[in-house]
Symmetry: C2
Subunit: 218 residues, 2 copies
DNA sequence: ATTAACATTTTTGTCGACAATATAGCCGTT
DNA sequence: AACGGCTATATTGTCGACAAAAATGTTAAT
């Protein structure tokens, strides 16, 4: 299988990834203006590649641009986070449904193995599960949907924005113990090829996550 | 209310809209290669603006680009259409749910009025309902969700692709008579603020549409 | 005849400069 | 002092040219 994370080949690619990283990780602060000339000197490339990178960031809804004025990093608001999670609930719910339909038995076995390894970590009190494990879990289910559009929307769009909120509003990772059980039930539904249940459980899982985060904001 | 269809201001904007139109309407045939120099002479603009237009088309998944090779218009396949409708079912279902929650009473009244005017047209055997009416109906519900991401994904992404399939695979418009009843029930659910039902009916409505189209393909 | 390597040509990627537009500051008027 | 218009300045939009990479065509060797 070809890795879904394609590595940059052109300068505009590299600049795009770097710029996105710097924004998501908060080095370039939310709401700030993106000056093309300034960035071109900072990243050591021409204005043309900066423009292309900014255009792509605009398509991801990470920056907003006004014609003849310039681009700004999006502002982070509670409403924005809510809207994001509404979309995520919808798309990942569908992803779980399609995964129950389209994942191979081998892929499901791998998913179960992944979950077992997480279980051991959680039991030992390790924090590994906190970030990468959760992402990996959702990652595989989304890929398991085998739906190109779904995969692109979530990986290229939603996930970076969600991470941006997580990092910059200083939220902790996913709720470790309870989330693990939810993951377990989702995998069970997928293994049983129960599309309806898989979607429903995934949606509830994300709703819980949303409520958890929303409570920390207000 | 400010119109959600923003008009082009810069040359790159205009070229992007024109190019998208030419592709969706089939003047530039699906699967064909997009030569930057060729297009720049054809549209009478510099290669830079063509490049920007192509980049934006790539973000919409209307063209695919390989680094150092070029861009091609996407190929239309039955699987691709299926994937599209899966996403559409998910997103528009959520849009209906959110519309039931967030639309104002005034907006709902307008929606009902729109449906009534369609009803008269359908009764008189007019074909107005065929295309624009259906689009307008879905349009308003999506806007009624008040969710920025949802609106952008559907309007900028999915809808143009769906139309591209419709036009180029020579499908007729929506199923007039039965679809009308489905629309009516969806509006009823929204007027009753029944989020659950609104989502479910919208999903079924799109599923029927998918099945209708899929049967014509095979 | 097929293949491999090389040279040629075409196409994309990148750059710096110019043109057009918006922003900011200044001046004069009321 | 406040407001309106004007000028200056800075930033974005567009262009043509150069560099780099891939595709094509040609030649030579097996």
């Amino acid at each position: 299988m070809t890795s879904p994370v394609k590595q940059p080949v052109t300068a505009a690619d590299k600049t795009f990834y770097q710029l996105r990283l710097d924004i998501v990780e908060g080095e370039i602060t939310a709401g700030s203006k993106l000056s093309e000339t300034e960035l071109s000197t900072k990243y050591g490339v021409s204005r043309a590649v900066i423009r292309e990178a900014i255009n792509r960031l605009e398509s991801c809804h990470i920056v907003e641009r006004k014609a003849n004025v310039g681009a700004r990093v999006v502002a982070l608001t509670a409403d924005g986070l809510l809207a994001l999670y509404q979309v995520r609930e919808s798309l990942e719910g569908m992803a779980a449904r399609l995964a129950a339909k389209n994942m191979t038995d081998g892929e499901i076995n791998e998913l179960e193995a992944l979950l077992n390894s997480h279980f051991k970590d959680v039991k030992q009190g390790e924090s590994y599960y906190q970030e990468a494990g959760d992402v990996d879990f959702h990652y595989r289910i989304i890929l398991g949907s085998k739906n190109k559009h779904l995969i692109a929307m979530l990986f290229d769009g939603i996930y970076h924005l969600v991470r941006m909120y997580r990092v910059q509003l200083g939220m902790a990772g996913p709720r470790v113990t309870t989330a693990f059980d939810e993951h377990k039930h989702i995998v069970q539904a997928i293994a049983n090829r129960d599309e309806e249940l898989a979607e429903m459980l995934m949606r509830r899982h994300i709703m819980y996550s949303k409520n958890n985060i929303h409570s920390k904001l207000s």
